[in-house]
Symmetry: D2
Subunit: 349 residues, 4 copies
């Protein structure tokens, strides 16, 4: 068993880490870190548990640590980070001196030699790790996963990009409130309402997606060469981001071919049979009114992206439209980091 | 005063008609028609009132009639119709023999010589009426207004189309549940959820918008020559459709110029000072997170469309993005028919 | 394995039956019946699946039957019924000629010799079955479970009634929309709203609770001798009924004693280790703001009732107040029937 | 015109004050105070406007002041306070040296010689003001209004208490999220959920109601002599508190008599024809499923309480049950203070 720690363990994504790592075959939670307000307390006493299943017994008695690399247990190998961006920018590098840092924070995404990875999409970016360690003289390293709305979109695009010449993408999102953290969206802002703005979200989607679907030549990443524009909106849904996608290809195509490529998409995590890898990264729904977030967010234990309404665009040439749903705090956050760690554990550690 | 009747008077749009016509300076409700289940009863007894203001006293004692042209009072001049499509297809023509039919139903939209009109956009299509009357040998006529999501979009596009060369539009909607009628969307379908499909809605938006922004040469309508593709979704909002719009122009432009043209847009209803005409058909919001349906749907007494997040698209050349909110049962339904009737009353009757 | 059939298999409670019986150690679904519209189709083709986990593979290919006792397979032993009341009144007796009918319908509740049972509360009412069979000359019989809001309340009251002298109870409910069936509550009625009325619900709670907590002398049931008054309301929650309970005892008491009796309550299903029996029928929450429906409805796989805010009433003598949450379509419907069947299978079949 | 100021002018209740005082016939807003973060800015620049109608033009250019009695304009006569409790405890007394303070804060409620008043219920408590001024040597004074859930309940109880001998009341509330302030309830806490706890709310209801319905003998208040116990819960509704009330009288009664007394209840504000006084303080709804918060909160411009489901309790002797809805930020907060000020302006100033 690999011992793992969680930074930001009392927060919403921290709790998802605990949920996903409970009964994990390869990882055992041995350290939990949070703010100084929580440090020194039993995890159960420090935490208001937000999830709708029970807090696992195994973590209740763990004494919460300060978020400080020097305070981390030596026998921990991997730390999962769900720290706020600014704090992550400060402390994740300290942890990387000695530990593998699998981070959901945006602080170090797309920095030179720091892999931003979705295991089904660009596992080869992990090759950056050597350079990262040398450059910084670290024994550990940092690996990051993308923004929640980016992951779901990119997973669904991978089989398209692999099989067709994509020219242009527009995406309009309807995102769940959990993506903003427990206190992120006041109920006054969202009951009988929606908020058509999420800070920095469009920028992240537009840049991270091209980076993930680009090419790493052993030194640097060249972005994918299509264009992607996003409009991001918050809706009254607890979990599960929905995205309406408009795709323009260079050439004509058969919509059933697109459907087949999505439905049959398998990649390295499926081949390696990684514990958290869903059987189908992309599930194609045939019902006219699916996917829907409450019904489809838990597909593949929250690790699959459900795609539906895949239809030829009758207006624009060489174009099609679809709708996707992905679980934003599982596949889009904690589950993404865990799958990265499973891949690293299989291939590198 | 012009005497008016309402067909479908007990339904949701019917109730909006009553609300908007209460205390109207030119129109007086003298007849209410509904299904045979309601016919013969006092309106108050026949109706479960859905709106959050009180049923006007003036209609409570009106005895509901059958929806039958022969039963309509002779002294009525205009009948407003919010009949279901199939029933409207049958009976609106009967009413048109003797009455002006201002219809919110889709049954006769875009049929030859039947004007589909937004008074701020294409009032000249009313010129079709002569041909319509001659062709059918009617004393009355039918005028229709577009689908709710189309009206809001088209109003916001009019000042753009008038001032720039539009090439392509994609729109992704987040529509209120009232658009489906009182029993249209079960709560099981929408609490902590959204439904990414609305029957025929995309087709209506894609065709009606081009028709409205086209050109009527005295004989037929030529569609506007840009392309428009829609993806339509239902969200947990009572009233107020929100739409994310991606616009591509032929040429470069100044985003402030777009903003000015929208903010300063005035048209015939404003010049004629029609009673239901909003001072500003399009209101431009500067706040980063507006428009929002609960906050902005009632702007201009529900007759203005609020536009925000107007921003240059950094990814696509000659492109910009914005978000709009329009009240779907006021500007998008009953208010649209009433404004059509006011224009007709001013120009034709 | 006991072969079981489900009546009303395509509806919401029918789907919960399928979910709960999938992988059941003692029961195997071999027959599914629904309306004539569905009969003859594969279950997967006949059904719009409403639950947020996948339809079990095992039922997809079962051909749906008409709801007709003569059409039922002979090798079925138990039929679970989630039929609408009026239809249940007609057909459940036909099935009872040959089959054990475990019914969630209200049609035959509290009828002479038809046991209304919660296994933790009044398993001895099953003794009525002999008389029922003799009276009707049936080989099978009918057993019923109470209304959803009644079950949760009665489970929480059982340890109180067993240990204290209850004098009077008032209960005010906040009930989930799923209790009304998929199309029962329009979204227009419940978004930014609540509905303070549920047809017949107060009457059912007031009568069934006293019946369940009463005494069966081998011939008839004497109601419990306290008084209970209910006020029932629908709120925008998908699953999970919440109830605020005001209890008056005859004598003074220690609130911790009440808490202990609830927390330590175990009954026959726990002793028999029935498959669907929760470890704790009543879970006492200590957090100041729990139980909450989204967080607590799934406790004990949806079969436990969570109780919180257990506090002495400072105003009324010998009184206390608490709040409970129970899953209305699991413990309050399908799970209730399944647990009844498990008890019957263990004790009678 | 009386010049008035608003303390806490940028908050939710502060905005309601502005909305209600816009176009007021007797009061003119001339001063707005808020936190130091807002002080010195134009009101429009300092404020995120939360209400669904527009910010009145008349306040946009007012420069926000510090909340400091020394900084208040001398020509102001009345200051309305919606300050947070702790801050109100500190500064309202400073303002009372020179100004009439009509406070919605709980800081000074039920203190000796500080009237807690609902104009329809206990206007005679204003007689305390003399003693208050003498005791403190103030030129101004403080008058307070009750908690939002208390006001709605007490208004509905007044005609009952005046005409029947009330023995005991239990009330279970379903309260809107606006009652907790804009950021008070996270959306994660309330979508598909409810929270069965509101800090100090039950205590306020239980004490304030008896105080308001008590008797002031010129020196002190004797509480009403019935008993009242409350259970308070937060539900996903924007505005409008709903309360289920169980009433026990000493004697038998005719339910239609109760209904008549409520429906015909008029009091001093109606007699004086105060501007904000609703024609009917209590509106009795006959529909089986009313009152509902979204439909009924705006009755009487948000100043009436709607009552429905008035029914005899078939279980408890001499008892009845009903449901009420009142607008929590109008009648329950800003409107309550404004009506108090109108009464003071009419009778005292």
């Amino acid at each position: 068993m690999v011992n793992v720690g969680i930074l930001g363990a009392t927060g919403m994504v921290g709790q998802r880490f605990i949920q996903l790592l409970d009964n994990h075959p390869d990882f055992e939670i041995t350290a939990l870190a949070a703010s100084s307000r929580s440090a020194g307390k039993r995890y159960e006493d420090a935490t208001t548990w937000y999830l709708d299943n029970e807090m696992p017994e195994s973590v209740k008695d763990i004494i919460v640590k300060e978020t400080d690399a020097d305070a981390m247990d030596n026998d921990v190998d991997i730390v999962f980070s769900s720290l706020p961006t600014e704090f992550a920018a400060k402390v994740e590098k300290d942890f990387a001196r000695d530990y593998v840092v699998a981070s959901n924070a945006s602080a170090h995404r797309m920095k030179k030699n720091i892999p931003l990875v979705i295991p089904e999409v660009n596992p080869e970016y992990l090759d950056m790790i050597d350079a990262q360690q040398k450059e910084n003289n670290w024994d550990g390293f940092i690996v990051t996963n993308p923004n929640c709305s980016t992951i779901a979109l990119t997973l669904s695009l991978k089989p398209i990009v692999d099989n067709f010449n994509v020219d242009a993408i527009r995406v309009s999102t309807m995102q769940a409130v959990s993506g903003a953290g427990y206190n992120g969206v006041p109920s006054m802002a969202i009951v009988d309402n929606l908020v058509p703005y999420i800070g920095n979200e469009e920028e992240k989607m537009e840049s991270e997606t091209l980076h993930l679907l680009g090419n790493y030549d052993g030194e640097k990443v060249s972005d994918a060469d299509f264009k992607l524009s996003a409009s991001c909106h918050r809706v009254p849904v607890i979990d599960g981001h929905t995205e309406a996608v408009f795709v323009e290809l260079d050439d004509d195509f058969d919509i059933n071919d697109v459907k087949d490529k999505m439905a049959n998409f398998k990649a390295l995590p499926q081949k390696l049979n990684l514990f958290s890898a869903p059987k189908n990264p992309v599930i194609v729904k045939e019902e006219i009114d699916r996917p829907q977030p409450r019904m489809d967010r838990n597909a593949g234990n929250g690790m699959s992206v459900s795609v539906g309404r895949l239809r030829k665009d009758k207006v624009f040439d060489n174009s099609f439209k679809y709708v996707l749903v992905g679980h934003n705090t599982i596949r889009g956050a904690a589950g993404a980091s865990v799958l990265n760690a499973e891949l690293i554990n299989d291939k590198i550690l």
